[in-house]
Subunit: 212 residues, 3 copies
């Protein structure tokens, strides 16, 4: 139904694409951060924070447009949900990056690298799919792909949780338990980011099915 | 207004009933699990996981139907909320079962058994109410009942939290604190399940009031 | 469009105002509680709980009205979101107050006082804005103010998290780590309350932009 839309209403599509490309920036920086030596992390965290701020502005722009235009390219609730879940992706990525620096975490479990790698791939898939939203083209491949990435994320999350909370050697030092609490918060937040990508994909599926 | 619905649109009702019956399966298995010896728990957790997968498929079926039919028996947002909150019930139950096995928790506090018992009763009440959704019959009893069960769940949750985090004997072993972290995650997740049942009940109330 | 509304439909406005004023009561009591000596806290927590119950009743009244009236002063989804997020504010405040008493927390970090102070100001700003919802007057100042309060809340939260989880002296006592777990739950809950105030403000902005 795109041909019935005025340029103003079509303005949603580039905003969704920019929001998704912004998540790619955040996810790539997070990946660089977990690979970096601890001394380099605060500078990288700052760039993730910048991406989060950029995401907030894009979300706000979408919401203002949503509330001020009369005709929308698809259901208002779907636009609301899509914008909110894209925002959640970058928020959780930023929160994880922030905690790594705030808690001065030095050694990160290998599982975290796997979780971040899945997020990076989910972000890339999302950014690649958003420009196809207008023509509703080849979106099924995208949401199936993201759903399978979420399964991968779950597995990585489970492995790291088990290793962290039921370690081979029972901790005998209170400081080690405190370290586990901090790492668990990062790990949980990365899982929330993976869930947010799935919510984006489910919303896109919902939009596509209605338009079909 | 059911008489105006085609068979296709009426198809929502059996799906809600099946989703609720599926939660009963999950809750009953969870109850069996907390009673079982640790060695038997992984096999039971597998059955809870199967219920979660079945729930995902039912939710997906409801969402696809919601997006493809023109007329719905009640507000689209209410159908969306009802399906989502039913899905949340089984998700949280599965998450609790999963953590008990993943963290190899051996001794579960008595309070957990009480929490699970309330969930089982909330699941039964929900499954019993869903078939009455079509005729909008005797639903008030159901939502009042679930709201009082949620009060019971809160009390059980409070008691177990206090016992777990402010134990009579202050822990002197770091491993004991790690155990508390793991048990707290299970306890919190069970409380989230209780909240999800209340959200289902509130959504049903919302639907019933509109139709009255 | 207020002049087109019957008295019944206009009834939403006083309910929103009362819900916001009720949050002020809860936030003020919470502030009194963190200043009080531990022995006085249970009595204050009881008053916070009473405010939470009053909030539940107001939310329920709004939802029943929402489902039973034909014409609403603004979008149903916005009324639903506004009522839910006002309810979330008082729920999180009550949860924080409850945990302080339940866990018999004696010494609260200074950061918590700062978090509570921001909540108190956010509650006051919200209660002051609600009566202007009907005339849609001077609401922009309000949501800009609450958004800047949320930035302040974030800073207070960060400072207290860092001090709590990365303390100058590494804990050598398991009981100290357990204390950190309990305090972190309170601190996280206060941050959720601050987020809920921001959601209220964002919803008001969304309503105002549509009506403009």
């Amino acid at each position: 139904m795109a041909f019935r839309l005025t340029p103003h209403e079509r303005g949603f599509y580039p905003l969704f694409t920019r929001a998704a490309e912004n998540i790619v920036v955040a996810a790539d920086q997070l990946a660089a951060m977990v690979e970096a030596v601890p001394a380099d992390r605060p500078a990288i965290a700052k760039r993730v924070k910048e991406a989060e701020n950029a995401g907030d502005e894009l979300t706000h722009e979408i919401m203002v447009k949503l509330n001020s235009v009369f005709v929308t390219p698809f259901d208002r609730e779907d636009i609301y949900r899509l914008a909110s879940s894209l925002d959640d992706c970058v928020d959780h990525i930023e929160e994880a990056a922030d905690r790594i620096v705030l808690y001065r975490l030095e050694r990160l479990p290998a599982g975290i690298t796997m979780q971040v790698d899945v997020l990076r791939r989910a972000a890339a898939a999302t950014a690649e799919a958003m420009p196809r939203l207008e023509r509703m083209a080849a979106l099924q491949d995208y949401w199936i792909h993201v759903n399978s990435l979420e399964d991968e994320a779950d597995e990585a999350y489970h492995a790291v949780l088990a290793g962290l909370l039921s370690p081979a050697e029972t901790p005998t030092d209170p400081a080690a338990v405190l370290e586990i609490i901090k790492l668990k918060e990062v790990v949980d937040t990365l899982e929330e980011a993976a869930d947010a990508f799935e919510t984006v994909a489910n919303t896109v599926e919902s939009i596509a099915v209605k338009e079909a």
